[in-house]
């Protein structure tokens, strides 16, 4: 029944097409010739589906090379696939991001003079690493520098100068570069309070 409906629908399209072609016919001596050709075209267009219905009734299973997917349906399926993919990527990215932030924060805390720090990783659309932001709160840099057993979590807060900040920055960058292979341009280090 659906095949018949399909044929009727196609014939409808052919009728519209034929009417359209009729308008385009040139006036003059060539008109009957063009009319004849259009007639043949209509005949073959109507005959083809009817013949395929009559002689290929038992071959209606969808073959790969005959398969004509509905474009709208395919688009919908692809959209759903993309959404699922995005959800998986987002979920994984969030987990990876959280763990990385924690790891980097723990490692960077080992740098003398760093009292506290916050890390934030920017991930790309496909879950790729883009940029690392580190906010450093400094402790007593000199105390850590001079001590034989460095105290990681120092309670002593003192204002440190620009050279010390640069040294802390360089040490953090070196550490992250060696451990994670990150480039200098990928890391942005800021100090709390400027």
């Amino acid at each position: 029944m659906s095949t018949l409906a399909e044929i009727v629908k196609n014939i409808l399209y052919i009728i519209i097409l034929a009417s359209f072609l009729e308008i385009l016919l040139p006036d003059g001596g060539l008109k009957p010739f063009v009319r004849f050709a259009i007639g043949l075209f209509i005949l073959i267009s109507v005959l083809n589906p009817v013949l395929s219905l009559l002689f290929n009734e038992q071959q209606f299973e969808v073959k790969l090379w005959d398969y004509q997917a509905n474009e709208e349906q395919s688009e919908e399926i692809l959209k759903k696939g993309r959404d699922i993919n995005q959800q998986i990527t987002d979920g994984n990215s969030a987990a990876v991001k959280e763990k990385m932030q924690g790891q980097i924060a723990s490692i960077a805390m080992l740098v003398p003079g760093v009292q506290e720090l916050e890390t934030r990783i920017d991930m790309g659309q496909e879950g790729t690493f883009q940029k690392l932001h580190i906010m450093v709160k400094t402790g007593d840099f000199m105390q850590h520098k001079n001590s034989d057993n460095p105290q990681v979590f120092s309670e002593n807060q003192s204002i440190i100068g620009e050279p010390e900040k640069t040294e802390i920055k360089e040490r953090i960058l070196g550490l992250l570069r060696n451990l994670y292979g990150m480039q200098k341009t990928d890391i942005e280090i800021e100090f709390q309070g400027g």
Binding site: Y13, I16, F20, L30, F33, V34, A37, F41, L47, N48
Partner: protein
């Protein structure tokens, strides 16, 4: 180019042709050819949109596009043939106009042959034995 422009250009060309045909008949033929070419070129854009609609309809009707392309070629041949024949007739060359029409008819017949053969094959399938 819309219909007012075509009409305007046609009227202007007709007036010029009336003048030129008596003074310089060769120039009149050239002007007629130029007018035909100008109209044809400006209508090409509109023809393209018609062809687009036809392609879409062919796709929806699941017709082999080869047949549609053949019909479009036939229409093109017919229009060009008519144009050329009309120009030749304007120039008073009836014999040349007939030859152009003859050539167009043959080309149309040749182009329709594959469709005719396809129909014949389909008919043969219908025949028993």
């Amino acid at each position: 180019m819309e219909i007012p422009q075509v009409v305007g250009l046609a009227l202007l060309t007709t007036i010029l042709l009336l003048i030129l045909r008596q003074e310089k008949p060769v120039m009149a033929v050239i002007l007629s050819i130029v007018f035909s070419i100008v109209v044809f070129i400006f209508m090409m854009e509109k023809m393209a949109s018609i062809i687009e609609v036809m392609q879409e309809l062919t796709h929806r009707a699941q017709i082999n596009y080869f047949f549609m392309a053949t019909i479009l070629k036939i229409l093109g041949v017919a229009y060009l043939g008519e144009f050329a024949a009309a120009i030749c007739q304007d120039a008073g060359e009836q014999a040349v106009a007939r030859k152009v029409e003859f050539a167009a008819k043959i080309i149309i017949a040749v182009l329709s042959l594959p469709i005719m053969i396809a129909i014949l094959e389909s008919m043969m399938e219908l025949m028993p034995g």
